[in-house]
């Protein structure tokens, strides 16, 4: 029996909302209504479940990482989103939103991308469903994530380089929103993280919560118990909120790891929750990096996916309420953890979750029980950049 359609959450405490040009208000209403219906529609959910299982390869394994566990002194499980089709959790959201776009009768899809993982995931979902696809990407990111640019083009997407500002994720999101302001009648914007105006933060959370739902039941099966800590990296916050949501009502510590870049004191970082202000970016009221006049600051991180001066509004609320804790890890520590995981587990992680690994290595759990860490993606895309940086560090 189908559940009752309920409104999609627009606010998280004081955070969230819709700070967008009036032109977008009606399409956001339309999207909100469409998601409210689709998420309780048996046919839609059936098709989404089938795609996640047979196309994406879900459930992804919960890997008992033995050598990593030995190293930190407490059992650690890795939720293997790197094994999902296209190599990151981004595909969960992209497939869901592309399906929703089709349901809404939109033939064209746009997306922004930083690391390129969300762009590849969206290009993939569009190829699968026969949708036209354009992906906005800062030209600094097209340089450092070259393999993903080639992949998107091969999949039939148009990659639009964005030259504004620092030429990274923030400007790519802005460019996608400007496209959408003019094209929303025929185009769906597949935002890549739990950010943006309502209903996006809730929509992306709903599509990513499969990570935590699976991990929770896999953990109960393996251990007969809940984890002590659940750890995930936070860029815009989609893999983290997708992991945390299943555990919100459990006695489990939730830890989000942001990018400290060159150090929180250097001013060159991506830690909007740990070291930012409150304000509006890309349509939502949340934690942001901004100066005292409200000008948005450039973020900095070695990992393109964390190189963003904002974060999803639900995380700002979880921070304020104390339900989740947010910490930050530097470029250097993340790079070392990147190599460490390769050698301990034979897994090449993306630089984004390498931040979470680094935090775990520095903060091993005490006592019995076990931890879960979401390994949000694989590191093939990062090899050139990471190896060059590690060479520099090794001297």
């Amino acid at each position: 029996m189908a559940a009752e359609a309920t409104p999609v959450q627009e606010r998280f405490g004081p955070y969230g909302g819709r700070f967008v040009p009036e032109v977008l208000m009606s399409v956001l209403d339309e999207l909100s209504a469409a998601w409210s219906q689709a998420r309780v529609d048996d046919a839609f959910q059936g098709e989404l479940t089938r795609l996640l299982r047979d196309y994406v390869g879900r459930p992804t394994p919960l890997w008992a990482a033995e050598r990593l566990s030995e190293r930190v002194g407490r059992r650690v499980y890795l939720k293997r989103e790197d094994l999902a089709h296209t190599g990151a959790h981004k595909i969960n959201n992209a497939v869901g939103q592309a399906l929703l776009a089709k349901r809404m009768g939109k033939q064209r899809v746009i997306a922004e991308t930083g690391a390129g993982q969300h762009g590849v995931a969206t290009a993939t979902a569009c190829a699968l469903m026969g949708l036209e696809c354009a992906v906005y990407m800062g030209s600094e990111d097209t340089r450092r994530q070259r393999p993903n640019v080639d992949r998107m083009k091969l999949l039939g997407a148009e990659v639009v380089p964005v030259e504004a500002g620092a030429r990274t994720l923030k400007e790519a999101v802005s460019a996608a929103i400007r496209d959408w302001v003019a094209s929303s009648a025929t185009t769906h914007y597949v935002i890549g993280s739990a950010v943006g105006p309502a209903p996006y933060p809730a929509l992306v959370r709903d599509l990513q919560r499969v990570i935590g739902d699976e991990a929770r039941s896999q953990a109960l099966e393996a251990e007969g118990n809940l984890p002590k800590r659940v750890i995930a990296c936070v860029g815009g916050g989609s893999n983290a909120i997708g992991t945390f949501t299943a555990f919100l009502d459990d006695p489990v510590e939730l830890i989000g790891v942001e990018a400290a870049g060159e150090g929180l004191d250097s001013g060159r970082h991506g830690a909007s929750l740990a070291a930012g202000a409150t304000g509006v970016l890309h349509g939502a009221f949340s934690a942001v990096l901004a100066d005292e006049q409200g000008q948005i600051l450039e973020a900095h991180s070695v990992s393109a996916g964390l190189d963003y001066p904002g974060v999803g509004p639900e995380h700002a609320h979880l921070r304020d309420s104390g339900r989740a804790t947010y910490v930050a890890v530097t470029d250097v520590d993340a790079l070392h953890a990147f190599r460490e995981l390769c050698r301990l587990e034979g897994i090449v992680p993306a630089l984004e979750p390498s931040h979470a690994i680094a935090w775990l290595l520095e903060n091993p759990g005490k006592g019995d029980g076990f931890d879960i860490l979401t390994l949000s993606g694989r590191g093939d895309k990062d090899l050139d950049e990471a190896l060059a940086k590690l060479d520099e560090l090794d001297g």
């Binding site: 909302g17 819709r18 700070f19 967008v20 208000m25 009606s26 504004a164 003019a182 094209s183």
Partner: protein
């Protein structure tokens, strides 16, 4: 004369805006409201441009406060804001330009929500009022989010000018219009700011519908780049806003004098076209 000056000083921002529209209407034409970017390309030139606007037929001036992430703006205005910020523009410097002309012509500021929230809506409003601003347009603040910001502006005697888009459904349009202060800003097309070869077909109907809903004048902006387009919009709308075309003229000019001459020439031609 002295009485009149005292009356001007005492009038609320909204009243000064309404008076400017009424004066244009009395001459049988739409009001001309050129947009400029504060601090662009530098502070001294920006103030020269504001004076040129005021002396070349502007009934009101829309003054953009440069912002790092202007989601409603197209490439020309976005780039101008970036240049202005790089040249050191701030809210204070934009307000200095406002103060330089606000005694001659009502100035409506255009500022993004985060700028008001960062300095605090009350402080923003009192600083703007002290600089003589008459109203504020916040392009990423739909009526649903206006709460605290709206109250602060009204409290300081400033009008919060709402925007209306072609995609706004009729019920919501009526709601927006009923809250309109000073004027209602109709965005001509679904898109960001920028010149357009053609304005959309349904614009006249949209403007008439808004006029039916609103107790205040209705002005049209986004996409108007020639005197002819201004004249055709001015046949229905109570006011015409011209942005990117003028900002482009300032970008293209070699110096402040040339920039002032270029915008003055364009505004005079547009003023003539509006008189019909």
């Amino acid at each position: 004369m002295a009485d009149q000056e005292a009356a001007t000083a005492a009038a609320t921002g909204e009243q000064r805006i309404l008076d400017a529209f009424a004066a244009a209407r009395a001459q049988g034409r739409a009001a001309l409201m050129p947009y400029m970017m504060g601090g662009f390309p530098d502070q001294a030139t920006a103030t020269v441009i504001a004076r040129a606007y005021s002396e070349s037929g502007a009934d009101l001036i829309e003054l953009g406060v440069p912002y790092s992430d202007p989601l409603a703006d197209g490439p020309v205005i976005h780039a101008a804001g970036t240049t202005a910020l790089a040249a050191g523009a701030t809210l204070e410097s934009a307000l200095e330009t406002c103060a330089a002309v606000s005694g001659d012509v009502p100035v409506v500021l255009m500022a993004y929500a985060n700028m008001l929230l960062a300095v605090g809506p009350e402080r923003f409003a009192s600083d703007a009022a002290a600089a003589g601003a008459a109203g504020v347009i916040v392009p990423d603040l739909p009526i649903d989010e206006a709460g605290e910001i709206g109250e602060a502006l009204i409290g300081a005697g400033l009008a919060l000018v709402p925007l209306l888009a072609p995609s706004t459904p009729p019920e919501r349009r009526a709601e927006i219009c009923s809250r309109g202060q000073g004027f209602v800003y109709v965005v001509s097309t679904a898109g960001t700011t920028g010149e357009r070869d053609e304005l959309p077909g349904g614009l006249a109907e949209l403007v008439r519908a808004a006029q039916g809903d609103a107790a205040v004048p209705v002005a049209v902006g986004f996409g108007i780049g020639t005197p002819e387009q201004a004249a055709s919009v001015g046949e229905v709308a109570d006011g015409v806003i011209i942005g990117s075309r003028l900002v482009r003229a300032v970008s293209d000019a070699p110096d402040a004098e040339a920039a002032a001459a270029a915008v003055s020439e364009f505004l005079r031609a547009t003023g003539d076209a509006l008189k019909g």
